[in-house]
């Protein structure tokens, strides 16, 4: 009980200490989505989502299970392309370029928009190779020294280097769940993406590992545009500057996190935040 109380208190502190809400609004728009729809076969999963995602801030998507928040997230780096029968409509622009145009290529797009998945999924290779893989396939390292540097700095940025520096050649799958997830984050930032998508990155982790990842997200937003899908409203409140509430495939309300949590305009949003739906 004590721990829970502490967590709630921390929530308030974090919300109060985030950047000035207007600051987040003033940041340039990095991602622009307009009327995005997704069909899985005959079933429509998203009904026209329009949203602007600001540069170098954390935007969180919240909503009950099956509301389409993960589906929309997967549209942003075209991961839905890999699902049989998925059809995406509408427009998503990264820096004014439609990502569903033939150019940029999907491979290039995913190098610019990294992703961290719900369940930590490091490659069954060494820690070093996990982080080095992206730079290698995209040809970002000119030499072995370059690559070493990228690996070390990525692990540092993910706050993992000190814990694994003596066992870089051991398999990434041998780490604890929280470490694995940070390894996945290190792997994602090794290719210096502009945007990082996180699909419930802490749902498989214990509270301590979660707290570490949340801290990390807060640090990363200085350099990256982050979009995070989360089931935990506390987490959304703690880490994000903007929050979007999804329900039944619709974007119900979107705005500065503090406003959404303290003064939602829409009744559905209020009900969800008060715990009446979900």
């Amino acid at each position: 009980m004590d721990m829970l109380a502490g967590k709630v208190k921390m929530t308030h502190q974090t919300v109060n200490s985030t950047m000035n809400p207007t600051d987040a609004l003033e940041r340039p728009i990095r991602l622009h989505a307009k009327d995005v729809t997704v069909h899985y076969g005959a079933k429509q999963a998203l009904h026209g989502i329009s949203i602007d995602i600001p540069d170098r801030a954390v935007t969180s998507f919240i909503g009950p299970s099956g509301c389409g928040k993960s589906t929309f997230l997967r549209c942003i780096n075209r991961m839905n392309d890999t699902i049989e029968g998925a059809k995406v409509g509408g427009l998503i622009e990264l820096d004014g370029e439609n990502i569903y145009d033939p150019s940029p290529d999907v491979v290039e797009l995913r190098a610019r928009i990294g992703m961290v998945f719900q369940k930590p999924n490091p490659f069954p290779k060494s820690i070093y190779e996990n982080v080095a893989y992206g730079p290698k396939i995209h040809g970002l390292a000119r030499s072995k020294t370059d690559l070493d540097e990228i690996v070390v700095s990525s692990l540092r940025k993910a706050g993992l280097f000190e814990e694994v520096k003596d066992r870089l050649n051991e398999p990434g799958t041998g780490l604890s769940g929280g470490q694995q997830q940070r390894l996945c984050i290190a792997r994602a930032i090794a290719v210096s993406p502009e945007v990082i998508l996180m699909d419930e990155p802490c749902s498989a982790l214990d509270p301590i590992a979660t707290a570490i990842i949340e801290e990390l997200i807060d640090e990363l937003r200085e350099n990256y545009t982050i979009v995070i899908v989360t089931h935990s409203m506390q987490q959304a409140a703690r880490v994000s500057q903007r929050t979007a509430f999804f329900h039944l495939g619709n974007l119900i309300e979107e705005g500065v996190t503090e406003d959404i949590f303290t003064n939602p305009i829409n009744k559905q949003t209020r009900d969800y935040i008060m715990g009446r739906i979900g």
């Binding site: 049989e84 290039e108 190098a111 999924n121 051991e170 041998g174 994602a188 982790l205 214990d206």
Partner: protein, 467 residues
């Protein structure tokens, strides 16, 4: 909400009673099922044990064979031939070769049976009554070639006496091993009374001894000299076919599976292909033999009885097995791994070759080896492309005539010299089974080794934790 399940202390007791009442039946069911399972396993093991006991008891004696140790005298009176040609100064290559060939032909035309007979008589007690034809039935008919070849290789043997080990004939071997009923009358015996008596005396004085039969591994099949029949030709035939299968079926099968599983769009056409591949795996193997005869021999005019054609037919037969097994392995790869690779911006090809294939490699390898082992044991399709021909030479290339191990078993079990070839057949079965067990053992060994290497690092084996 209505109370379907009542609560309260009384109700709890009632419920416990109900559950307990059903327990006896549930335990009985479990015991019955376990009993059936164990009975099934015992039955299966019993059959396997029966098979092995039968093959081993019949086949093991064939690995020892009766040998004759003879003192062979190259008597100049019998070997009336000019001395071997010596190359004269100024003689051309062709002339020398022609002279040499003529000499060899002259040597071959000599009556070497006389030399064999003389050697046998030398080993027999003095004045033993036996005629020439009868005494020659003791040594295998290839003995004369063996003795002649020694002379061709070294013409200076003329007039000398050397000790030569030759094989006893199949009948003599049977007589010594007790495969022939000694009580049978002379009319029913293959060997004359004099020959039988001499064999027993040879056995007693050590002229005939029993030793490990190397000929079964080093010789080719033989009808004229059954005791000298061996598996070398069939083994090489099988070996070449395995090579063809490995070179063709493995890359084609694995590549088709990867394409179908990872790249092909799911459409009516790919569904049709999938159904057909599954059906192909169930096609009787003899049908593949007919196909091979029609396509490779009649249409493409590839040579009859060639391991290349056999290998091609077995490739067709093995392909579906490898494709199905490889697809199964690919389907088993967790979607998380694919997503991780694609999410990093890997192309589909990179995802497959960098991540999916390394993980599935052990399963694909095992499936491949088992498919190849299956092909190794296949007989029916080979009969239709002429590989059941009697071939008395070791194939030098996959295009030469050859037979295969399972076909050799088929041929030997039908040999009219049943008494002798029953054991040989079982011995051939043992060689084939040994080969198969070896292949499967390699598959298991590689699989466990590779899986271990993929799953865990060398040091961090037990520290694996889930978040």
């Amino acid at each position: 909400m209505t109370d379907i399940i009542p609560t309260g202390h009384r109700a709890t007791l009632e419920r416990a009673k109900l559950i307990r009442a059903g327990l006896g039946r549930r335990h009985l069911q479990e015991r019955l099922f376990k009993g059936f399972g164990m009975a099934a396993i015992a039955l299966a093991l019993g059959f396997v044990a029966l098979l092995f006991a039968d093959v081993l008891t019949k086949g093991l004696p064939a690995f020892t064979q009766s040998n004759l140790r003879l003192s062979v005298t190259y008597d100049p009176e019998v070997i009336g031939v000019d001395p071997a040609p010596v190359r004269a100064a100024g003689q051309s290559d062709a002339d020398f070769r022609a002279a040499n060939l003529k000499w060899q032909r002259d040597v071959a035309l000599l009556n070497w049976n006389k030399v064999v007979e003389a050697s046998l008589r030398a080993a027999a007690p003095a004045d033993y009554e036996i005629d020439s034809r009868q005494i020659l039935t003791i040594a295998e008919t290839n003995a004369r070639h063996q003795i002649r070849d020694l002379f061709v290789a070294d013409p200076s043997l003329l007039g000398k006496t050397v000790t030569v080990d030759v094989l006893a004939s199949a009948n003599a071997d049977n007589w010594i091993k007790g495969n022939i009923d000694r009580e049978l009358g002379d009319a029913q015996q293959q060997l004359s009374p004099a020959a039988r008596g001499l064999i027993d005396q040879f056995k007693a004085n050590g002229t005939i001894s029993s030793g490990f039969s190397r000929s079964i591994f080093t010789n080719v099949d033989s009808r004229a000299a059954p005791a000298a029949a061996g598996l070398a030709g069939a083994f090489m035939g099988s070996f070449y076919m395995m090579l063809v299968v490995i070179i063709l079926a493995v890359p084609i099968g694995v590549a088709s599976a990867i394409y179908l599983e990872e790249f092909a769009p799911k459409s009516r056409l790919t569904d049709l292909i999938e159904v057909n591949i599954n059906n192909l795996a169930a096609v009787p193997s003899i049908v593949f033999g007919l196909l091979g005869a029609a396509v490779f021999i009649n249409y493409l005019h590839l040579p009859l009885s060639a391991p290349l054609v056999g290998g091609l037919v077995l490739t067709l037969m093995t392909l579906p097995t490898i494709i199905i097994a490889t697809r199964g392995a690919l389907q088993g790869v967790s979607p998380a791994l694919r997503q991780a690779a694609l999410g990093m911006g890997a192309s589909r090809t990179q995802m497959v070759f960098h991540h999916v294939l390394p993980v599935t490699f052990p399963s694909i390898l095992t499936a491949t080896i088992i498919g190849v082992a299956q092909a190794l044991g296949e007989t029916a399709p080979l009969l239709l492309i002429g590989m059941n021909a009697f071939v008395a030479s070791v194939p030098a290339t996959p295009l030469d005539q050859a037979t295969a191990l399972p076909v050799q078993i088929y041929l030997w079990q039908a040999n009219e010299n049943r008494n002798f070839f029953e054991a040989r057949t079982s011995a051939a079965i043992l060689v084939l089974l040994g080969f198969m067990i070896l292949l499967n053992a390699i598959a298991i060994f590689l699989r466990t080794r590779l899986e271990k290497r993929i799953r865990e690092g060398p040091r961090n084996g037990h520290a694996r934790r889930q978040g």
